[in-house]
């Protein structure tokens, strides 16, 4: 019985893994038409120009937003947690949210690096000679950019979560102070 369950679980995992791999492969090698290949070759220069502009703008966005997100952690969250701690109050939940936020920030940095490398690779491809490879590289960069956006949304959620934790902490502190009087 236990063996049968284990076999079912392993088979299920294999099927899921295969399905995911196949779907990724299919997404990357979406069928291209002759017209589309011609279109890529014709507008190669303008597309590359657009990509170069996006590359530069995203780098600027990464620098400015990254600085802002980093400051939220170092200049506000961690400092408030330290102050709570130095007053011998319970900062456990605030610290937990800060740690989650910092972990999300690390993922954001890594995912951006992966995306940038992917976009740089796409820019290096000669789209007049290798339109299909170029199309696939751009599709890959597109997926990775979407992942960076999803990381940004998570960071915003953690910023809200910290505010909720802060409000709860303040309510608890006021109740404690009120009961102490």
């Amino acid at each position: 019985m236990t063996k049968a369950k284990a076999v079912v679980i392993i088979l299920g995992a294999i099927i899921l893994g295969c399905t995911a791999t196949i779907s990724v492969a299919l997404a990357q090698s979406a069928p291209m038409t002759d017209a589309q290949i011609t279109q890529i070759k014709t507008s190669c220069l303008s597309v590359k120009d657009t990509l170069a502009q996006l590359h530069a703008n995203d780098a600027l966005l990464r620098v400015n937003r990254g600085q802002m997100y980093e400051s939220m952690a170092t200049k506000l969250m961690t400092r408030f947690n330290n102050r709570v701690d130095s007053n011998h109050l319970n900062s456990k939940y605030l610290v937990a949210v800060t740690q989650d936020y910092r972990a999300a920030l690390t993922i954001f940095r890594t995912d951006y690096q992966i995306y940038e490398e992917s976009l740089s690779s796409a820019l290096k491809i000669d789209c007049t000679k290798e339109p299909v490879s170029f199309y696939d590289a751009v599709a890959d960069a597109r997926t990775k950019r979407a992942q960076v956006h999803s990381d940004v949304i998570k960071l915003h959620q953690y910023i809200d979560q910290y505010k909720t934790a802060f409000d709860e902490f303040v309510t608890g502190l006021m109740n404690f102070t009120g009961s102490g009087n």
């Binding site: 002759d34 890529i40 802002m68 007053n87 951006y112 690096q113 599709a139 910023i159």
Partner: protein
């Protein structure tokens, strides 16, 4: 005659230098260049792998946006991490946090889909048929 004696004496006194000893300055320069190249390779590898390359807006191709980078975030005040925690300090933190959180969330960074075939105008024309 005297000159010949002088030359013989000089040859006898001077130590016989090996091939590499004779070229020691050349060797010194070659080793120095090799060490410098090795160190540059290590630093370039670190520059690329650490993610610093992605933040370096002085690279070629970024000149148009370099001036827009925020170089000084002195507007972002540091909350003091020492002192008592009273109503005033809590209110101060709330004001600081709300202001900065609003700024952080004001931009939905990396949103949109600028890399889609439609946005890049590389999608198949509506009239196009499948590839042969």
């Amino acid at each position: 005659m005297d000159e010949n004696i002088k030359t013989e004496v000089l040859e006898a006194v001077q130590p016989v230098l090996s091939f590499w000893a004779q070229r020691r300055y050349l060797l010194l320069i070659a080793i120095s260049v090799a060490i410098a190249m090795f160190l540059v390779s290590v630093s370039m590898a670190l520059y690329n792998s650490s993610g610093a390359a992605q933040l370096d807006l002085s690279r070629p191709g970024y000149s148009a946006v370099t001036s827009q980078a925020i170089k000084n975030d002195s507007n972002f005040a540091n909350y003091p991490d020492t002192g008592t925690l009273d109503k005033a300090s809590i209110d101060e933190f709330r004001a600081l946090y709300d202001a900065q959180a609003a700024k952080a969330k004001a931009v939905d960074a990396f949103s949109g889909d600028p890399l889609s075939p439609t946005a890049l105008e590389i999608s198949a024309p509506a009239t196009a048929g499948p590839a042969h």
